[in-house]
């Protein structure tokens, strides 16, 4: 056995994708040395409750540690971020200076919250982001102090869930977003308008089309207001910055991989690509950090920041890591997510990006209980359910099969479904110059 083979498999990233990947290695018979590296000092924990029941105070921040579904018999290196990868020496450098050898490597470092720049007030006290357990604990403690007004910047899933929780706590909330409705990027403005109505009903002050220029603080360095691009100011003593995430690839900067703030690029079998486009046969990636050509969407490079992808891709990459080069299975994954906010269970499947049409096929928009299917060029590409989850699997199958859009009713004597403009905002100009480098 070579020294590298003795080093075994190293998983960098001890969250959902890393854990489920490690479990799949053991389940598939890998009996060698297994090491998990995590930058947080915690065993893998579940993140979805953080922006919901942890903020509301129903669950303690440390309640959501994930079950381990098989015995891992692993070496855990928790609280030590990986800071460098040397592919030639097959070693990983940790923040504490330790160097670990690997034989095969699974990259599952996930993503990190986009922070507000310090130059425009981001370093003021009482400005929060929400990504990890510590973030949630700090934010929960600050909400329990009873702020006079909470300002949430960004009406995506996290921003809307936080707004819903803050209203449940009875706190005054202002929510800002540059788009005309909440959830405009994921669901379009026509469906997003339903959440805009929920915000209004629950007493959230929602300002569409609004951009923050900077935050101002008081003499003690605590945030007191936001200055908007249109000249308005909003007084707030607690700010939640919910502007999405960038992929945690900083540690790969000098590794010679196709990696940037948008992810680390893989082939269809989860194998990481070197900067020259060749496949690294001993390095795989899974979860939020992985960007791969999704065959269900014409081979488009996508990264999927959702729970189900972390579970499925972690296990898929692990299976391929143990298989010979000629038996690598392609990762075909239909993205899916869920959210609960304002008492509504929202579930979605597929990638709605580029949709040119949307049709309600069950229920009604007015009742806020419906299933809507998105289409592009006459094919169904995505679906979202508001409190109609049992219909979703049938449409997920139709999307996988590339079925007609609008969907065809069962009975031929019934009319066609009415279609609407979904109202997606124009694609963002690459906000991070290096994000577009390889795509």
């Amino acid at each position: 056995m070579s020294a590298a083979a003795d080093a075994g498999i190293v998983v960098v990233g001890a969250s959902l994708a890393g854990l489920r990947g490690a479990e799949a290695l053991r389940r598939n018979g890998y009996a060698g040395r297994l090491t998990l590296i995590g930058n947080e000092p915690y065993r893998p924990y579940d993140r979805p409750p953080l922006s919901k029941h942890v903020l509301s105070g129903e669950l303690a921040p440390d309640a959501s540690e994930l079950p381990q579904l098989v015995a891992l018999d692993a070496d855990w290196r928790l609280g030590h971020a990986a800071v460098g990868l040397d592919r030639v020496a097959r070693t990983i450098r940790l923040a504490d200076g330790a160097v670990l050898a690997y034989d095969r490597l699974l990259i599952a470092t996930g993503a990190q919250a986009r922070h507000w720049p310090a130059a425009s007030g981001g370093a003021l006290a009482n400005i929060f982001t929400l990504r990890g357990r510590d973030d949630a604990a700090r934010l929960r403690a600050a909400l329990a102090q009873g702020p006079r007004r909470v300002l949430i910047v960004g009406a995506g899933l996290i921003g809307c869930e936080a707004a819903s929780c803050c209203r449940d706590l009875g706190l005054p909330v202002t929510l800002l977003d540059p788009n005309p409705t909440p959830l405009a990027r994921s669901l379009g403005t026509w469906i997003g308008g339903v959440i805009a109505e929920c915000l209004k009903d629950s007493g959230v002050a929602f300002h569409p089309g609004a951009r923050v220029l900077r935050f101002e603080g008081d003499a003690s360095g605590r945030v007191v207001r936001a200055d908007l691009a249109d000249g308005r100011t909003i007084e707030a003593d607690l700010v939640i910055v919910a502007l999405g995430a960038t992929r945690a690839t900083d540690w790969l900067r000098d590794a010679g991989l196709m990696a940037d703030a948008g992810g680390v690029t893989c082939d269809g079998a989860c194998r990481v690509l070197a900067a020259d486009g060749t496949t690294c046969p001993d390095i795989y990636a899974a979860g939020d950090v992985a960007r791969w050509p999704n065959s269900l969407y014409g081979g488009r490079l996508v990264s999927v920041e959702h729970w189900g992808n972390a579970v499925a891709q972690g296990a898929h990459a692990a299976r391929n890591m143990l298989a010979p080069a000629e038996d690598q299975h392609r990762y075909d994954h239909l993205p899916a997510f869920w959210s609960s906010q304002f008492g509504i269970n929202i579930k979605a499947v597929g990638l709605s990006e580029g949709a040119d049409s949307v049709a309600i096929v069950q229920g009604s928009r007015a009742s806020r209980r419906f299933l809507a299917v998105y289409g592009r060029a006459g094919r169904s590409i995505a679906a979202v359910s508001f409190d109609q989850a049992r219909w979703l699997p049938a449409y997920a199958e139709a999307i996988m099969a590339g079925s007609h859009h609008p969907p065809i009713r069962d009975a031929s004597d019934q009319g066609r479904f009415a279609t609407m403009e979904p109202g997606f905002p124009p694609p963002r100009a690459a906000s991070h110059a290096d994000e577009a480098r390889h795509v």
Binding site: P67, Q68, V70, A71, D73, V311, A389, R390
Partner: protein, 82 residues
């Protein structure tokens, strides 16, 4: 290298439960099997305790078995204990 050690505290540490909410269809069978740990809110939002006390193991196992879409995972007894 640090190896996790099993200690007497494994008797007092809670169970670890996670539900795949992509898979969950809101059939609420878990709520009948383990009413202290699972609850449906509104039409179909499942709220659950991810760290129920060990004394609930029997009812949680019944919930795992009762789920028609097998969405509930419970830490295996041979899983490592931190």
């Amino acid at each position: 290298m640090t190896h996790p050690t099993k200690t007497a505290s494994s008797r007092t540490t809670p169970l670890r439960v996670v539900v795949d909410l992509n898979r969950c269809q809101g059939y609420a069978q878990c709520c009948y099997a383990a009413p202290g740990a699972f609850e449906v809110r509104g039409h179909e939002i499942l709220f659950y305790d991810p760290a129920p006390p060990r004394a609930r193991r029997g009812e949680i196992e019944r919930a795992v078995q009762a789920c028609p879409v097998r969405a509930i995972s419970l830490q295996a007894d041979d899983g490592e204990t931190p």
